[in-house]
């Protein structure tokens, strides 16, 4: 069906956007790529009074290396991330994940800022950011602040962003040659929301696994960093093939039941995905 009526503003700068948020409060909704919001408006699940379209704010674009971190502007389209040489060099996990996010036409409009700020529990990029220990850069009336990914995603569709803040960029530590990355997700059809997914980042010292970050998605209201499981795996490496039981995951993950999978099945699938990522690193 068609969207209900709303008013529309198109700020040209971050300051103008912040001004809109300050003035309109909860009447306003930010329109970034629109691939989630417009769908919601068309189905009339959402009836905001005013849309604040941030597509014309130049300062929110651009991928660059700043002070040893990869900085990605909030309005960077997913398609740009997919084909960016800077991203494949400095954050190869993102390059691995991109072809699994929806479909090309969606990726041509959808943005990284939108995906992170919306924080859909089944989305890949929030888990990716957690696995990479990235940060969210937000601007508000009190200036700029950085929020580390593990603190940013708080609850179902709830992030640390306050109502008068705008997510302006994502910053990620640059990958080094002692790191390996892994990504697996299980979806019924290519591009569907994953039933369960895993973004993994690991640090090595020659053949020894020294640090591991396992960030699962669609296993609860927000991405879960399974710290106990990760440290167990590091501890028993390289005997991991024979000794890895992954039972610890059962207590670290608490997924809900839904039409696609039961809670138990999700936990089981999470173990399967973990084994597949580990296998890839062992071979």
């Amino acid at each position: 069906m068609k969207a209900a009526a709303f008013n529309y503003m198109q700020p040209k700068t971050v300051d103008e956007a912040l001004g809109c948020l300050e003035q309109l409060g909860s009447d306003a909704t930010i329109l970034a790529g629109g691939q989630s919001l417009m769908a919601s408006l068309n189905m009339r699940l959402s009836n905001p009074a005013v849309l604040i379209d941030i597509n014309a704010i130049d300062e929110l674009n651009g991928i660059s290396v700043v002070e040893g971190r990869l900085r990605i502007g909030a309005m960077t389209r997913l398609a740009e991330l997919e084909y960016s040489p800077l991203v494949s060099q400095h954050a190869p996990l993102i390059t691995m994940v991109m072809p699994h996010i929806a479909h090309p036409a969606i990726r041509n409009r959808g943005t990284i800022g939108g995906s992170i700020a919306f924080a859909d529990p089944a989305a890949e990029l929030p888990a990716c950011l957690v696995a990479l220990n990235g940060q969210v850069v937000a601007q508000g009336p009190n200036g700029e602040r950085r929020i580390v990914a593990t603190e940013f995603f708080q609850d179902l569709f709830e992030t640390a962003l306050t109502d008068n803040e705008l997510l302006t960029a994502i910053e990620i530590p640059m990958a080094n040659e002692n790191q390996r990355f892994g990504f697996r997700e299980l979806a019924r059809r290519h591009g569907d929301y994953a039933m369960v997914g895993l973004c993994a980042s690991s640090d090595w010292s020659s053949d020894n696994l020294t640090e591991l970050r396992l960030a699962y998605f669609n296993v609860g209201p927000r991405p879960v960093l399974a710290e106990q499981t990760a440290s167990d795996i590091c501890r028993i490496w390289p005997q991991v093939r024979n000794e890895m039981s992954l039972d610890q995951l059962e207590s670290e993950l608490d997924p809900a039941d839904d039409l696609n999978a039961s809670s138990a099945m999700r936990v089981h699938l999470a173990k399967v995905l973990t084994r597949r990522v580990i296998e890839e690193w062992l071979s």
């Binding site: 919601s40 009339r44 699940l45 009836n47 859909d120 179902l156 569709f157 609860g220 209201p221 839904d258």
Partner: protein, 147 residues
Amino acid sequence: MELSGEIELEATPDEIWHVLNDPVALQRCIPGCTALEKRDTNTFLATIQIKIGPVNTQFSTVLTVIPVAPPTHYSLTGEGQSGISGFAKGTVNIELKANATGTVLGYTSQVRIGGKVAQVGSRLLTATAKKWVRQFFDSLETVFNEN
């Protein structure tokens, strides 16, 4: 779907009972409740704004308070509609038991959600309902602590 749980509050069952039966306090407990109008002794018309993820819409809800057995057993039933977005019907049964530090509040709830919201959001229903119920009891605790 069924949701249940238990929370501990530093207040006597009588004090919590009073809050649950006070429309002004109740409005503050219900997440997103922008208006609560009394219809008759135990019935209210509530306007509840649900803003979780893709859903940002108003539910016009009829709430019925059933003081089943004061001051320990209490029931709240709601039937809400949000135009074409869908409907939600639920009952929360609350049992208050005194303990050393105050009260243990046990709740069981049955919630049915239907219409577009349920069709499109089926993968999120349980998580959303759980979050809403959590917010209700967090607000109850806050309202309580302020009194």
